[in-house]
């Protein structure tokens, strides 16, 4: 539960995620997605409720790249590896460069990289904590389709390796395509928690008049039927 002044940003949201699962948190702007991920990341304190994670750390990748644009790719990774107190920061940096496929661009100033590559470094920094759970806040915003595809290939690889990935998006098709499960938020309330197919079923039963339309239109109709 979380309120900002008189505004209730989150209420009664509860869910669990398994190791290696890709959980998409979807909803329109202002639904409470970033607030939820910020609470899970420990950036914000919840007014009520509990967050339980396993023994491994939680990695957090904010929506806007949180890195130093005047440093090189390698310097950024090295700084955060050192701050994470890695025993061999250089080895960790090499591992992340390999993982992100940016080894050849290690010496480049981040500001000169494309938005997609900046986002890959942003995620790599989040991974330096060797997290059991990786939180991605709207990771594909501002990326072109090619960059987006490469990003999701990368993220899917992480999940395949056992990392629980919880990502927020307002793009229903992206959530359907890459998420194993979906948590639908609207106005701070959890409306749905299940697979894409189960969500389609819920849309068909709640908004039958839109069932034959594309999934995004049907989803909007569903939200409307639920009073949002």
């Amino acid at each position: 539960m979380k309120s900002f002044g008189g505004l209730e940003a989150l209420r009664g949201v509860g869910f669990a995620a398994e190791a290696g699962e890709l959980l998409a948190v979807i909803g329109p702007n202002g639904a409470g997605k970033t607030t939820l991920l910020s609470i899970l990341a420990g950036i914000l304190d919840a007014d009520g409720g509990e967050v339980e994670v396993g023994a491994r750390a939680v990695g957090w990748v904010p929506q806007q790249a949180a890195l130093y644009r005047r440093l090189t790719v390698e310097e950024n990774l090295m700084l955060f590896a050192r701050l994470e107190k890695h025993e061999d920061p250089a080895a960790s940096v090499a591992e992340m460069l390999e993982l992100t496929g940016l080894g050849e661009r290690r010496g480049e100033i981040v500001a000169r990289l494309s938005g997609g590559n900046q986002q890959r470094i942003n995620i790599a920094i989040g991974l330096l904590a060797r997290p059991g759970v990786l939180l991605l806040d709207e990771p594909s915003v501002g990326l072109d389709p090619r960059q987006r595809a490469r990003l999701w290939e990368f993220v899917s690889g992480l999940a395949g390796g056992g990392t629980t990935v919880i990502f927020s998006t307002h793009d229903i098709q992206e959530a359907e395509r890459y998420g194993d499960r979906m948590l639908v938020l609207a106005d701070g309330e959890a409306l749905f928690d299940g697979s894409a197919e189960e969500l389609r079923e819920a849309v068909r039963s709640e908004a039958p008049e839109a069932a034959d339309r594309d999934f995004e239109t049907a989803f909007v109709a569903y939200l409307h039927h639920r009073g949002h």
Binding site: W60, P62, A66, Y68, E75, L79, R82, I109, I125
Partner: protein, 450 residues
Amino acid sequence: MRWLLLKDLQILRRSPLQAALLVLYPVLIAVLVGLAISGGPERPRVALLNEVPDNARVSLSGTKLPSANVQRRICSRVECVHVHSRQEAVAKVESGDVLAALVLPEDLVNKINSLSTLAPGTPKVEVLVNESDPLKAAAVDDRIEALLAQANLALAKRIAVEGGKYLNLVIKGGNLPVLAGAVHVLGLQASARILEAIEPALPRGPLRAALSEVTEFATQASENLDIAGPLINRLAQPIRVEKVAVGGSAPPLETFAVAVAATLTLAFVAVLLVAGSLALEREENAYPRLTRGLVSTEALLGEKILLGVAVGLVVTVLMLAGLQIFVPLEWGRFGLWLAAIVVGGASLAAAGAALGAAAREVRAVSLLAFMVTLPVAFLSLVPSGTVGAGLYDVIKLIAAIFPFKPALEALTAALEAGNGSLGAPLLHLAILGVAYALIARLALRRFARV
């Protein structure tokens, strides 16, 4: 903390233009302020048109007095630019080549001489000023009035001296030079002695009584006029200034100028660098990532203050080394300089952190830092007595709550012995440093999370 410090130095190295501006701008401002304070318009340029004939002298009772050297006196106080015509004087004033022009007209001495006649004239000098700039006009008025007051004083003294000589002649007697020869003047004292000697030779009666009265008058006049001599001299300058320094001794102007220049540099570097660097953490969205377990807010603030102190120390010491060329400094007191720069730098850096915590854009924070530092620095240099008492109290308060003034006091005290205590400003700086660090901590908690 060291990795963050290394990162900030890397970022600074990657921004050579900003780094150069950060260092060069305050150094430039500091040098200009230092020069303005130490090399003020002690000898402003004034055009002088002297139309008085060389042989003209102020005369008293037909006797020409020695020259009072009015022109030399004026030119010892200002840088005289001799011109040969009024037009030339006007052109120089209009072009701004000189602050003003002083015209001594041809009939000046004649008008002065007429003061002792039955038809006195009014001696006048002409001052040409360009009043398009009100500040300049006021400055010229003050300067010229002071110069003319000095010239009048010199003339009055010369007249008093000559008047005293005549008075002495009347009292004690002697030779009065007239044309090519001289007239012997008996004098009151000799007259009284002669009359006293004659008096017993006269028979008692009205004639002897009258002579006795005349003798008495000559004696009294001689004695009383003797007192008038010093009085005439005092009339030329009835009030004499006796300056007594109370409330501490002022540091030499050169030392103070060096302290001002160094403190300005330290203030700009520490405040701007720390404010900008802290804002950059938020502008780059790195602040929440750093403070969610990697670095505590206190450690981050400590690192920023350390950055401000380190860079401020290097720049300030380099600047002092550069100023050594112009002003000899006591390098034996380097330890005290270090204490003043480090504590002052830390306090200023903490103020920078408080400013940097208030906004997330580096540009906005830099502007804010300029808007705060520059006026506060200049307000801190306003001397008491130059503004109204109420306004000065407000200025004192502002100067006391920003670390510039105590840093200036600390550096002034550290640079040279006898410039006041170092302990009090250091304590003041320490208190302000802690207060600003707390404000920065609160501001970050309030504004910087997400």
